[in-house]
């Protein structure tokens, strides 16, 4: 009886701890990618910098929308819309920088 009452709570706590671990890892990766972008901005220039930092920015954007905003659990249409937004903005910026 005792076991049947506590087991779902334990399962819930384990799930919650797993979600927090995943969010914490995502946060640390985001801080790392931001630091990398910032350092690259001071040492690299031109199209190499543009493509690298844009790529890192798209990864960061995906992590924020998927993990923090919770789109990972949303209908695939919403994930597609957000992914298309990020890719479109990134592509337009890259195109504009390349024609400079």
């Amino acid at each position: 009886m005792e076991l049947s009452r506590t087991a779902p709570q334990d399962k819930g706590r384990r799930h919650s701890a797993g979600v927090i671990r995943r969010a914490t890892l995502t946060w640390l990766i985001l801080l790392g990618l931001t630091t990398l972008s910032f350092r690259l901005g001071a040492t690299v220039s031109g199209n190499v910098l543009m493509f690298t930092v844009l790529g890192l920015t798209l990864i960061k954007g995906h992590l924020v929308t998927s993990e923090f905003m919770g789109l990972r659990h949303a209908h695939w249409v919403w994930r597609l819309v957000m992914a298309l937004y990020l890719l479109t903005v990134g592509s337009i910026i890259a195109f504009a920088y390349l024609r400079a």
Binding site: S16, V19, W27, L31, T34, V53, V64
Partner: protein, 195 residues
């Protein structure tokens, strides 16, 4: 016909928070996307001007503000997790932490604006500063709005208006705050880093 309606409803329900905030979020993202594109194409005709002007920006502040907003977003995620566990006070604490970081962001940004105006920089100084000041001030106002929303949500969390079962408000406010963070991530790369 009814199948389509059900499909649409499922798609809408699977988003965290109210559907209305997501329509608002996507509209905001489109507006910022157009502004980012305008900046990029304006730069393509004035590369030297943009590169020289970018050197005058306080890149350290931009970097610090990115770390601040990312951390505040993480705090909002923790607030969501806390309320899902039925921990109202903890939810309020995490949201208060996010609000404090939002205040730190505004403080650093105001310091940057102050430095610009001390040096006589304004919207009409040149094309780069017109974009830089407009984009960052527009985003600044979104941070202020996000903080107002988070403050209301935090108050309601402290006063026990949410529960593990009913916490749509926390998810709605959190989604808006994450959008503000997402926009800054792109803005930081575009204005402060890429040159």
């Amino acid at each position: 016909m009814s199948l389509h309606i059900n499909d649409d409803a499922d798609a809408a329900q699977s988003l965290p928070g109210d559907l209305a905030i997501w329509i608002f979020i996507f509209a905001e993202l489109v507006v910022f996307g157009i502004l980012f594109a305008a900046y990029a194409f304006a730069r393509s005709s004035h590369v030297t001007l943009f590169n020289v002007s970018q050197l005058t920006l306080n890149r350290d502040n931009g970097f610090a503000n990115t770390l601040i907003l990312l951390t505040s977003s993480y705090f909002v995620v923790r607030a969501n997790q806390a309320i899902k566990a039925g921990l109202n006070k903890a939810c309020g604490y995490w949201l208060s932490g996010a609000l404090g970081l939002g205040g730190g962001f505004l403080w650093l940004k105001l310091a940057e604006f102050h430095q610009d105006f001390v040096h006589g920089i304004n919207l009409s100084t040149n094309l780069f500063y017109m974009f830089y000041l407009s984009l960052t001030f527009f985003h600044f106002m979104h941070v202020v709005m996000g903080m107002v929303i988070l403050a209301v949500v935090a108050y309601k969390a402290y006063t026990g208006r949410y529960s593990a079962e009913h916490h749509t408000g926390v998810e709605t406010g959190g989604s808006y705050w994450h959008m503000v963070d997402l926009v800054w991530i792109i803005l930081f790369a575009l204005v402060y880093v890429i040159h």
